[in-house]
Symmetry: C2
Subunit: 210 residues, 2 copies
Protein backbone atom coordinates (compact mmCIF):
# COMPACT_ATOMS: atom_id res chain seq x y z
CA UNK A 1 0.00 0.00 0.00
CA UNK A 2 1.37 3.38 -1.02
CA UNK A 3 1.16 6.03 1.71
CA UNK A 4 1.24 9.81 1.61
CA UNK A 5 3.84 11.21 4.00
CA UNK A 6 5.22 14.51 5.26
CA UNK A 7 8.74 14.68 6.72
CA UNK A 8 11.00 17.19 8.45
CA UNK A 9 8.45 19.98 8.29
CA UNK A 10 9.92 22.53 10.68
CA UNK A 11 7.78 25.12 12.42
CA UNK A 12 8.24 27.74 15.11
CA UNK A 13 6.50 27.66 18.49
CA UNK A 14 3.88 29.91 16.98
CA UNK A 15 3.37 27.54 14.07
CA UNK A 16 5.11 29.31 11.19
CA UNK A 17 6.87 27.06 8.65
CA UNK A 18 8.53 30.04 6.98
CA UNK A 19 9.10 33.68 7.75
CA UNK A 20 8.52 36.60 5.42
CA UNK A 21 9.12 38.10 2.95
CA UNK A 22 10.32 35.17 0.85
CA UNK A 23 12.83 36.09 -1.86
CA UNK A 24 15.68 34.67 -3.93
CA UNK A 25 18.11 35.80 -1.23
CA UNK A 26 15.96 34.66 1.69
CA UNK A 27 13.82 31.64 0.75
CA UNK A 28 12.48 31.48 4.33
CA UNK A 29 12.23 35.23 4.85
CA UNK A 30 13.27 36.57 8.25
CA UNK A 31 13.41 33.00 9.60
CA UNK A 32 16.64 32.49 7.69
CA UNK A 33 17.99 28.99 8.34
CA UNK A 34 16.90 28.95 11.97
CA UNK A 35 14.03 26.50 11.43
CA UNK A 36 16.39 23.95 9.89
CA UNK A 37 19.56 24.16 11.95
CA UNK A 38 18.48 21.04 13.87
CA UNK A 39 18.64 19.12 10.57
CA UNK A 40 21.96 20.57 9.41
CA UNK A 41 23.52 19.12 12.58
CA UNK A 42 22.45 15.55 11.79
CA UNK A 43 24.27 12.86 9.87
CA UNK A 44 21.36 12.88 7.44
CA UNK A 45 22.65 16.26 6.27
CA UNK A 46 26.35 16.08 7.08
CA UNK A 47 28.38 12.87 7.25
CA UNK A 48 30.01 14.01 10.52
CA UNK A 49 26.71 14.98 12.12
CA UNK A 50 24.74 13.68 15.09
CA UNK A 51 23.20 10.22 15.13
CA UNK A 52 20.54 10.60 17.84
CA UNK A 53 16.82 11.19 17.73
CA UNK A 54 17.02 14.16 15.34
CA UNK A 55 18.92 12.05 12.82
CA UNK A 56 16.62 9.06 13.29
CA UNK A 57 13.66 11.17 12.27
CA UNK A 58 15.46 13.17 9.58
CA UNK A 59 16.69 10.19 7.61
CA UNK A 60 13.19 8.79 7.16
CA UNK A 61 12.70 11.60 4.65
CA UNK A 62 13.78 9.51 1.69
CA UNK A 63 13.09 5.92 2.75
CA UNK A 64 10.46 4.26 0.57
CA UNK A 65 9.56 7.44 -1.29
CA UNK A 66 8.76 7.13 -4.99
CA UNK A 67 7.60 10.68 -5.78
CA UNK A 68 7.27 14.13 -4.24
CA UNK A 69 4.65 16.85 -4.55
CA UNK A 70 5.70 20.41 -3.76
CA UNK A 71 4.15 23.84 -3.97
CA UNK A 72 5.25 26.59 -6.34
CA UNK A 73 6.76 28.54 -3.42
CA UNK A 74 9.14 25.69 -2.66
CA UNK A 75 10.34 25.40 -6.25
CA UNK A 76 11.51 28.97 -6.56
CA UNK A 77 11.33 32.56 -5.34
CA UNK A 78 8.30 34.72 -6.17
CA UNK A 79 8.22 35.25 -9.93
CA UNK A 80 10.14 32.15 -11.01
CA UNK A 81 7.34 31.40 -13.43
CA UNK A 82 8.55 34.36 -15.50
CA UNK A 83 12.02 32.84 -15.91
CA UNK A 84 11.92 30.08 -18.53
CA UNK A 85 15.39 28.88 -17.45
CA UNK A 86 14.59 28.43 -13.73
CA UNK A 87 15.16 24.80 -12.74
CA UNK A 88 14.71 25.03 -8.97
CA UNK A 89 17.07 25.97 -6.14
CA UNK A 90 19.05 22.77 -6.20
CA UNK A 91 21.42 22.93 -9.17
CA UNK A 92 22.04 20.10 -11.63
CA UNK A 93 21.46 17.26 -9.14
CA UNK A 94 18.50 18.00 -6.85
CA UNK A 95 18.14 15.92 -3.67
CA UNK A 96 14.82 14.34 -4.63
CA UNK A 97 15.93 11.47 -6.89
CA UNK A 98 12.34 10.71 -7.94
CA UNK A 99 9.63 12.20 -10.11
CA UNK A 100 8.74 15.49 -8.40
CA UNK A 101 5.48 17.30 -9.07
CA UNK A 102 5.39 21.08 -8.75
CA UNK A 103 1.93 22.56 -8.27
CA UNK A 104 1.61 25.79 -10.23
CA UNK A 105 -1.09 27.63 -12.09
CA UNK A 106 1.41 28.12 -14.93
CA UNK A 107 2.63 24.65 -15.93
CA UNK A 108 5.65 24.23 -18.22
CA UNK A 109 7.34 21.23 -19.87
CA UNK A 110 8.96 18.67 -17.58
CA UNK A 111 12.66 19.00 -16.70
CA UNK A 112 14.97 15.98 -16.41
CA UNK A 113 17.92 16.52 -14.09
CA UNK A 114 20.73 14.30 -12.80
CA UNK A 115 20.31 11.75 -10.05
CA UNK A 116 16.81 10.70 -11.02
CA UNK A 117 14.91 13.91 -10.35
CA UNK A 118 12.37 14.87 -12.98
CA UNK A 119 10.27 17.96 -12.33
CA UNK A 120 6.72 17.84 -13.64
CA UNK A 121 4.47 20.89 -13.45
CA UNK A 122 0.79 20.51 -12.66
CA UNK A 123 -2.17 22.81 -12.24
CA UNK A 124 -4.27 20.36 -10.24
CA UNK A 125 -6.23 19.77 -7.06
CA UNK A 126 -4.49 17.94 -4.21
CA UNK A 127 -6.41 14.75 -5.03
CA UNK A 128 -5.55 14.88 -8.75
CA UNK A 129 -1.93 15.73 -8.07
CA UNK A 130 -1.73 12.82 -5.65
CA UNK A 131 -3.15 10.47 -8.25
CA UNK A 132 -0.48 11.53 -10.75
CA UNK A 133 2.30 11.22 -8.17
CA UNK A 134 1.03 7.86 -6.95
CA UNK A 135 1.13 6.56 -10.49
CA UNK A 136 4.70 7.81 -10.90
CA UNK A 137 5.81 6.37 -7.54
CA UNK A 138 5.55 2.77 -8.79
CA UNK A 139 4.07 1.43 -5.57
CA UNK A 140 6.27 3.42 -3.24
CA UNK A 141 5.07 6.25 -1.00
CA UNK A 142 4.44 9.85 -2.01
CA UNK A 143 6.01 12.67 0.00
CA UNK A 144 4.25 16.01 0.34
CA UNK A 145 7.32 18.22 0.37
CA UNK A 146 5.78 21.52 1.42
CA UNK A 147 5.64 24.40 1.94
CA UNK A 148 3.14 24.83 4.69
CA UNK A 149 0.30 25.93 2.44
CA UNK A 150 0.53 22.77 0.37
CA UNK A 151 0.77 20.51 3.44
CA UNK A 152 -2.22 22.26 4.94
CA UNK A 153 -4.21 21.79 1.72
CA UNK A 154 -3.44 18.05 1.67
CA UNK A 155 -4.30 17.71 5.38
CA UNK A 156 -7.57 19.57 4.90
CA UNK A 157 -8.42 17.23 2.02
CA UNK A 158 -7.77 14.21 4.27
CA UNK A 159 -4.98 12.93 2.02
CA UNK A 160 -2.05 12.63 4.47
CA UNK A 161 -1.32 9.27 6.15
CA UNK A 162 1.78 10.19 8.15
CA UNK A 163 3.26 13.55 9.12
CA UNK A 164 6.45 14.46 10.95
CA UNK A 165 6.61 18.04 12.24
CA UNK A 166 9.61 19.50 14.06
CA UNK A 167 8.88 22.31 16.46
CA UNK A 168 11.79 24.67 16.98
CA UNK A 169 11.93 26.96 20.06
CA UNK A 170 11.56 30.24 18.19
CA UNK A 171 8.72 32.75 18.10
CA UNK A 172 8.73 33.99 14.50
CA UNK A 173 5.73 36.26 14.79
CA UNK A 174 4.91 36.28 11.07
CA UNK A 175 5.09 34.10 7.99
CA UNK A 176 3.02 31.15 6.78
CA UNK A 177 1.19 29.17 9.46
CA UNK A 178 0.86 25.40 9.27
CA UNK A 179 -2.17 24.88 11.50
CA UNK A 180 -4.68 27.39 10.15
CA UNK A 181 -8.01 25.88 9.15
CA UNK A 182 -7.22 22.47 10.64
CA UNK A 183 -9.39 22.57 13.79
CA UNK A 184 -9.89 19.08 15.18
CA UNK A 185 -7.03 17.53 13.18
CA UNK A 186 -6.19 15.37 16.22
CA UNK A 187 -9.48 13.49 15.78
CA UNK A 188 -8.13 11.87 12.62
CA UNK A 189 -4.62 11.10 13.85
CA UNK A 190 -2.70 9.39 16.59
CA UNK A 191 -0.23 12.01 17.74
CA UNK A 192 3.10 11.44 19.49
CA UNK A 193 5.55 14.03 20.79
CA UNK A 194 9.17 13.49 21.74
CA UNK A 195 11.64 16.14 22.82
CA UNK A 196 15.25 16.05 21.68
CA UNK A 197 18.35 17.12 23.62
CA UNK A 198 18.89 19.58 20.77
CA UNK A 199 15.87 21.55 21.98
CA UNK A 200 13.41 20.68 19.23
CA UNK A 201 10.27 18.57 19.61
CA UNK A 202 9.35 15.91 17.07
CA UNK A 203 5.60 15.54 16.54
CA UNK A 204 4.38 12.54 14.58
CA UNK A 205 0.87 12.13 13.22
CA UNK A 206 -0.36 8.77 12.03
CA UNK A 207 -3.79 8.48 10.50
CA UNK A 208 -6.01 6.81 13.11
CA UNK A 209 -7.28 3.39 12.10
CA UNK A 210 -10.99 3.44 11.37
Amino acid sequence: MSLTRVHNLSISLDGFATGEPQSAEAPFGHAGQRLHEWMFRTRFWDQGGTTGVDDAFAERHSVGIGAEIMGANKFGPPGWQDDPDWKGWWGTEPPFHTPTFVLTHRPRPSIDLEGGTTFHFLDASPADALEAAREAASGQDVRIGGGATVVRDFLAAGLVDQMHVVQVPLVLGRGVRLWDGLEGLEDSYDVEAVSSPSGVVHLTFRRALA
Copy 2:
Protein backbone atom coordinates in the same frame (compact mmCIF):
# COMPACT_ATOMS: atom_id res chain seq x y z
CA MET B 1 14.88 38.04 45.20
CA SER B 2 11.22 37.91 44.23
CA LEU B 3 10.57 36.47 40.77
CA THR B 4 7.62 36.74 38.42
CA ARG B 5 6.45 33.32 37.26
CA VAL B 6 3.89 31.67 34.99
CA HIS B 7 2.81 28.07 35.61
CA ASN B 8 0.66 25.42 33.99
CA LEU B 9 -0.34 27.63 31.09
CA SER B 10 -1.86 25.13 28.66
CA ILE B 11 -2.02 25.81 24.95
CA SER B 12 -2.99 23.88 21.83
CA LEU B 13 -0.56 23.00 19.03
CA ASP B 14 -1.74 26.13 17.28
CA GLY B 15 -1.04 28.25 20.34
CA PHE B 16 -4.51 28.92 21.74
CA ALA B 17 -4.82 29.08 25.54
CA THR B 18 -8.60 29.11 25.38
CA GLY B 19 -11.27 28.43 22.81
CA GLU B 20 -14.27 30.59 22.07
CA PRO B 21 -16.81 31.88 22.86
CA GLN B 22 -16.14 32.13 26.58
CA SER B 23 -19.23 32.06 28.78
CA ALA B 24 -20.44 31.16 32.26
CA GLU B 25 -21.20 27.63 31.01
CA ALA B 26 -17.98 27.28 28.99
CA PRO B 27 -15.13 29.29 30.54
CA PHE B 28 -12.74 27.97 27.87
CA GLY B 29 -15.24 28.07 25.00
CA HIS B 30 -15.16 25.18 22.55
CA ALA B 31 -11.90 23.93 24.12
CA GLY B 32 -13.91 22.72 27.11
CA GLN B 33 -11.57 21.03 29.58
CA ARG B 34 -9.38 19.48 26.91
CA LEU B 35 -6.44 21.83 27.51
CA HIS B 36 -6.29 20.86 31.19
CA GLU B 37 -6.97 17.14 31.25
CA TRP B 38 -3.24 16.48 31.63
CA MET B 39 -3.37 18.37 34.94
CA PHE B 40 -6.53 16.71 36.24
CA ARG B 41 -4.72 13.37 35.99
CA THR B 42 -1.87 14.46 38.28
CA ARG B 43 -1.57 14.15 42.04
CA PHE B 44 -1.35 17.95 42.14
CA TRP B 45 -5.04 17.95 41.24
CA ASP B 46 -6.25 14.61 42.57
CA GLN B 47 -4.68 12.76 45.49
CA GLY B 48 -4.81 9.48 43.54
CA GLY B 49 -3.26 11.00 40.43
CA THR B 50 0.01 10.44 38.56
CA THR B 51 3.35 11.36 40.08
CA GLY B 52 5.54 11.62 36.97
CA VAL B 53 6.76 14.54 34.94
CA ASP B 54 3.34 16.16 34.55
CA ASP B 55 2.89 16.23 38.31
CA ALA B 56 6.44 17.46 38.93
CA PHE B 57 5.72 20.50 36.80
CA ALA B 58 2.15 21.02 37.96
CA GLU B 59 2.91 21.18 41.65
CA ARG B 60 5.40 24.02 41.23
CA HIS B 61 2.34 26.22 40.68
CA SER B 62 2.06 27.18 44.34
CA VAL B 63 5.58 26.77 45.72
CA GLY B 64 7.06 30.06 46.92
CA ILE B 65 4.22 32.16 45.55
CA GLY B 66 3.12 35.17 47.62
CA ALA B 67 0.63 36.80 45.26
CA GLU B 68 -1.13 36.28 41.93
CA ILE B 69 -2.11 38.66 39.16
CA MET B 70 -4.94 37.59 36.84
CA GLY B 71 -6.91 39.15 34.03
CA ALA B 72 -10.59 40.05 34.19
CA ASN B 73 -11.42 37.16 31.85
CA LYS B 74 -10.02 34.66 34.34
CA PHE B 75 -12.02 36.05 37.24
CA GLY B 76 -15.42 35.63 35.65
CA PRO B 77 -17.47 35.22 32.50
CA PRO B 78 -18.07 38.20 30.19
CA GLY B 79 -20.17 40.75 32.09
CA TRP B 80 -19.22 39.78 35.65
CA GLN B 81 -18.46 43.43 36.31
CA ASP B 82 -22.21 44.08 36.17
CA ASP B 83 -22.86 41.61 39.02
CA PRO B 84 -21.93 43.18 42.35
CA ASP B 85 -22.15 39.78 44.07
CA TRP B 86 -19.72 37.94 41.74
CA LYS B 87 -16.79 36.62 43.79
CA GLY B 88 -15.02 34.51 41.15
CA TRP B 89 -15.52 30.95 39.91
CA TRP B 90 -14.04 29.25 42.94
CA GLY B 91 -16.64 29.42 45.75
CA THR B 92 -15.90 30.37 49.33
CA GLU B 93 -12.35 28.99 49.42
CA PRO B 94 -10.49 29.75 46.19
CA PRO B 95 -7.29 27.82 45.44
CA PHE B 96 -4.98 30.85 45.51
CA HIS B 97 -4.35 31.28 49.26
CA THR B 98 -2.61 34.62 48.73
CA PRO B 99 -3.47 38.18 47.81
CA THR B 100 -4.76 37.99 44.23
CA PHE B 101 -4.92 41.01 41.97
CA VAL B 102 -7.59 41.13 39.29
CA LEU B 103 -6.87 43.52 36.42
CA THR B 104 -10.07 45.29 35.38
CA HIS B 105 -11.06 48.66 34.05
CA ARG B 106 -13.90 48.67 36.61
CA PRO B 107 -12.30 48.14 40.04
CA ARG B 108 -14.44 47.32 43.09
CA PRO B 109 -13.71 46.91 46.81
CA SER B 110 -11.47 44.03 47.83
CA ILE B 111 -13.04 40.68 48.80
CA ASP B 112 -11.70 38.54 51.65
CA LEU B 113 -12.41 34.82 51.26
CA GLU B 114 -11.46 31.71 53.20
CA GLY B 115 -8.07 30.06 53.01
CA GLY B 116 -6.08 33.25 52.68
CA THR B 117 -7.32 34.48 49.30
CA THR B 118 -8.07 38.19 49.09
CA PHE B 119 -9.13 39.55 45.73
CA HIS B 120 -7.99 43.08 44.95
CA PHE B 121 -9.17 44.88 41.82
CA LEU B 122 -6.81 47.11 39.89
CA ASP B 123 -6.99 49.24 36.78
CA ALA B 124 -3.26 49.35 36.22
CA SER B 125 -0.43 48.72 33.75
CA PRO B 126 1.47 45.43 34.03
CA ALA B 127 4.39 47.20 35.71
CA ASP B 128 2.19 48.98 38.27
CA ALA B 129 0.16 45.85 38.99
CA LEU B 130 3.39 43.92 39.50
CA GLU B 131 4.65 46.53 41.94
CA ALA B 132 1.46 46.20 43.99
CA ALA B 133 1.58 42.40 43.91
CA ARG B 134 5.28 42.33 44.77
CA GLU B 135 4.59 44.47 47.81
CA ALA B 136 1.79 42.13 48.89
CA ALA B 137 3.90 39.01 48.30
CA SER B 138 6.18 39.75 51.27
CA GLY B 139 9.36 38.71 49.53
CA GLN B 140 7.89 35.65 47.82
CA ASP B 141 7.35 35.31 44.08
CA VAL B 142 4.44 36.67 42.06
CA ARG B 143 2.50 34.38 39.75
CA ILE B 144 0.96 35.72 36.56
CA GLY B 145 -2.13 33.53 36.53
CA GLY B 146 -3.42 34.24 33.02
CA GLY B 147 -5.31 34.23 30.80
CA ALA B 148 -3.20 34.33 27.68
CA THR B 149 -3.75 38.03 27.03
CA VAL B 150 -2.41 38.97 30.43
CA VAL B 151 0.58 36.65 30.15
CA ARG B 152 1.35 38.06 26.72
CA ASP B 153 1.15 41.63 28.05
CA PHE B 154 3.59 40.81 30.86
CA LEU B 155 5.94 39.03 28.47
CA ALA B 156 5.85 41.94 26.04
CA ALA B 157 6.70 44.30 28.91
CA GLY B 158 9.70 42.13 29.81
CA LEU B 159 8.34 41.38 33.28
CA VAL B 160 8.34 37.56 33.35
CA ASP B 161 11.31 35.67 34.85
CA GLN B 162 10.09 32.09 34.47
CA MET B 163 7.31 30.58 32.38
CA HIS B 164 5.98 27.04 32.15
CA VAL B 165 3.80 26.31 29.11
CA VAL B 166 2.13 22.98 28.44
CA GLN B 167 1.46 22.14 24.82
CA VAL B 168 -1.45 19.78 24.31
CA PRO B 169 -1.84 17.82 21.04
CA LEU B 170 -5.00 19.56 19.86
CA VAL B 171 -5.63 21.93 16.98
CA LEU B 172 -8.22 24.36 18.35
CA GLY B 173 -8.41 26.61 15.32
CA ARG B 174 -9.76 29.65 17.21
CA GLY B 175 -9.62 31.36 20.55
CA VAL B 176 -6.96 33.50 22.24
CA ARG B 177 -3.39 33.00 21.07
CA LEU B 178 -0.47 33.13 23.48
CA TRP B 179 2.36 33.93 21.07
CA ASP B 180 1.01 36.88 19.11
CA GLY B 181 3.23 39.94 19.17
CA LEU B 182 6.14 38.14 20.84
CA GLU B 183 8.51 37.73 17.88
CA GLY B 184 12.04 36.97 19.08
CA LEU B 185 10.97 35.99 22.60
CA GLU B 186 13.61 33.24 22.55
CA ASP B 187 16.35 35.89 22.53
CA SER B 188 15.49 36.80 26.13
CA TYR B 189 15.01 33.30 27.48
CA ASP B 190 16.68 29.95 27.82
CA VAL B 191 14.07 27.50 26.57
CA GLU B 192 13.75 23.80 27.39
CA ALA B 193 11.26 21.28 26.07
CA VAL B 194 10.43 17.88 27.52
CA SER B 195 7.77 15.50 26.26
CA SER B 196 5.63 13.50 28.66
CA PRO B 197 4.27 9.97 28.21
CA SER B 198 0.84 11.59 28.58
CA GLY B 199 1.32 13.23 25.19
CA VAL B 200 1.85 16.82 26.29
CA VAL B 201 5.09 18.78 25.99
CA HIS B 202 6.36 20.95 28.83
CA LEU B 203 8.14 24.11 27.68
CA THR B 204 10.07 26.10 30.25
CA PHE B 205 11.38 29.61 29.72
CA ARG B 206 13.96 31.09 32.07
CA ARG B 207 15.06 34.67 31.58
CA ALA B 208 18.56 34.53 30.09
CA LEU B 209 21.28 35.91 32.32
CA ALA B 210 22.65 39.20 31.03
